[in-house]
Symmetry: C2
Subunit: 453 residues, 2 copies
């Protein structure tokens, strides 16, 4: 983390002098995200000392921009009564995330001190399983009824805004008495209707609301929001009861989080739940080790395969020289194909129905790339002193291995998607491992046929 040390000495001086005016201005004059950033060098107690000089709403806002480990540390170490008041003011989705990372005993201590209504909300939102729509939604959205007048709606919204109870007013959701989602009014529609204050919300609302199910996977929700360019999407249960709202900023977080997870899967690391530095060394070692061991046993097969060709390797010793070259060329072309296909699947650029086009494309690329590498390989074999006829083993092998790489690398992720698994499990090292083994067999078979002829 790059610490912003620009204001630190001034901040510490103001704290030492108890400069309430200066600290108060620091909390209000700049964007809360910047205030939070400037405090990164302070310890938990010092941060709180600064935040005391902000209004409760502003305080919660600045707090929400601190790094999550710092937020958790503050809840765990500072005065429980003050922290409970802070928790009550936080955004409903954020505070659930923070409390889930805190020690259970901190949560047990804090929760009873949080006002009843807020505590019930925390418990309700905490109940949804991780990575679902329910786990990232918030309960702070504007709810209207069909028979509200425009005037009454505006009044209700401004009251909620004053109390800090809304995270988004891009859309105002219309529910019936049983809380079923009936329609949506955009803030633009509301503004446009201001001239007719007595009109009812039901007259201007849009009845075709796109919503997501509370159990939906967060990745699917993000894809949906990205497709419709929504600023927020409502979350409903099976009976279409309105449960919450997912806002654009949460969607961006999900997209970024999933990109990191996909990259880790592609690189044969079991996705980390926390950031690289936050993950304990043992967890990290385990999440890599499990894949490394699987790949290691795969690689052991190459040793066993090679043992079957020991007499040929003794007879034509120069074959050994090109073992790494052959398997890495296959592995690299396979990794490339796997990367292209996995990322195109993740981005929604291709789907299973495109499989035949993909096969043709990878076939052509495999032949072109394999033939070209084969040409260079033949030259290299000649330069290393291999006889002109014998050296033909290298280009023939390279063509076949690269072709095998592009086809395996592209088809395995598609197969995994077809079987309902995450295609990224077909990590590039996994693909490379398979091609290592196949590559050895191709190499030795080509050599035996050609050289024994």
């Amino acid at each position: 983390m790059i610490r912003n040390t620009l204001y630190l000495p001034e901040l510490r001086e103001m704290l030492a002098e108890g400069d309430a005016a200066g600290l108060g201005e620091f909390c209000t004059a700049i964007h809360p995200a910047r205030t939070a950033e400037f405090m990164e060098g302070l310890d938990a107690a010092e941060v709180w000392e600064v935040l005391r000089h902000a209004e409760p709403m502003r305080r919660a806002e600045i707090f929400s921009f601190l790094e999550q480990p710092r937020q958790v540390e503050m809840l765990e170490t500072l005065d429980p009564q003050e922290m409970a008041e802070l928790v009550a003011d936080l955004a409903h989705d954020d505070r659930v995330d923070i409390l889930q990372d805190a020690e259970p005993q901190t949560v047990e201590e804090l929760l009873p001190l949080v006002p009843d209504e807020e505590r019930r909300d925390i418990l309700r939102l905490s109940a949804y399983p991780e990575d679902t729509a329910g786990a990232i939604m918030t309960s702070e959205y504007a709810r209207l009824n069909e028979d509200d007048t425009i005037d009454a709606a505006v009044e209700a919204i401004t009251r909620s805004l004053r109390e800090g109870d809304l995270q988004t007013i891009n859309y105002l959701y219309v529910v019936d008495k049983a809380d079923h989602l009936r329609g949506v009014v955009s803030v633009a529609q509301l503004l446009s209707a201001l001239a007719k204050p007595a009109m009812q919300i039901g007259d201007i609302m849009n009845q075709s609301v796109v919503s997501v199910d509370v159990d939906a996977d967060q990745e699917k929700v993000a894809a949906e929001v990205a497709r419709y360019d929504f600023a927020a999407i409502p979350v409903v249960d099976a009976e279409h009861h309105m449960l919450g709202v997912i806002t654009h900023d949460d969607v961006i977080d999900v997209v970024r989080e999933e990109a990191v997870e996909d990259a880790q899967r592609i690189g044969a690391v079991d996705p980390l739940e926390e950031t690289y530095l936050e993950t304990s060394l043992l967890t990290l070692t385990w999440k890599r080790g499990i894949w490394l061991i699987i790949l290691f046993f795969g690689a052991l097969l190459t040793a066993i395969a090679l043992r079957g060709y020991e007499d040929r390797l003794a007879q034509w010793a120069w074959l050994v020289l090109f073992i790494p070259l052959v398997i890495s060329s296959g592995g690299n072309s396979g990794s490339q194909s796997a990367t292209l296909i996995i990322s195109a699947l993740a981005a929604g650029h291709i789907s299973l129905t495109d499989w035949s086009r993909i096969v043709v494309r990878e076939l052509v690329q495999g032949i072109l790339l394999g033939a070209f590498l084969g040409l260079i390989g033949y030259g290299a074999a000649r330069m290393l002193g291999v006889a002109s006829f014998d050296a033909a083993v290298v280009p023939i092998t390279l063509l076949l291995v690269v072709l095998c790489g592009t086809l395996t690398g592209s088809l395995l992720p598609l197969l995994f998607r077809r079987l309902g698994f995450d295609p990224a499990i077909m990590s590039t090292p996994f693909v490379a491992g398979i091609i290592d083994l196949v590559g050895i067999v191709i190499y030795m078979t080509v050599a035996s046929r050609l050289l024994a002829a």
Copy 2:
């Protein structure tokens, strides 16, 4: 692409019968994104035939949800006058993207038919270089002056909304006569101020506006918006003139696009400008080939290195069996480290200043993983008939190679970031290639020392 064929027969029937009422309802009753989706099976002319039955604003909205290649095809093949009218109604940032993908002669034909003001806007936005803030911003945002009253502001905004000239009203930007960005008013603030219609915008505006420079890299803009949880961010030039706005949906697109590009770089493919299926086979082969050839020449070095050890390989023939195992273990652990570090850098979870912590962590992981793989490797060597003393070459080599993999895989991306390059260029195949070579040298050195002793 999964085509949605559910409505196709009905749509074709309505088209054949000229059922204006049915087609009109199809264009209005469901979300425009869904309307666009249902028309994926139609050809360009049929799509336009359907869209004729929608109001111009709705027509433009539905059109904006079609796949980009289809949009381009429609502009290129349908009546220029009608297409020019459509272009005039499109979102200002979207139409620039579409026109940049169309044939130059289509653009030349269409532009003169587009109204003056809109044409100037297209030319202005087209001028910004790709992947910068300027290239993704839109010119449709709400502009107010400090001395506007609340009432006048609301009236101006509702007028603009009626004309479809606003892409976002989350924030209303306050500019002076020379177009300098002076402040920002959120729509929430505006709603809350409705009760005091004679108050001026200057009294409620927020003067600390976070903006981005028009030349800023789109990836940095996305990171900024994600950090501040903004729904939109204003774009300014060096003199702080307001030029445009980037909205949350464009940011999501950038984040998704950059994730795909990063994955491709990590997988040693030069990032594609279009999707996998849209990219021509020759381009695709070239973008892979260039890296594959670089990696191939790297791998050739392993052949040369191995030639230096030919006599030892002849003396202890069993050493050959473990060549693929040794280099793949090093390559895999190196790929894992490179993936972890590159994705953590991209997500902002680590920075260069953390390098010493990273080295320690990778050192510990390398020792743990190397030792464990070494244990299995020793067992495997024994099982394949290697003498108990000789077999020690395998675990010692594995420990050193895996350690070398974790350190190289983590340090190379950091080094590249330090040198100002994209750390993802240190693709996992590249890291693996380096470790292949180092692995061979370590293996042969360990073997020579131990077996000759």
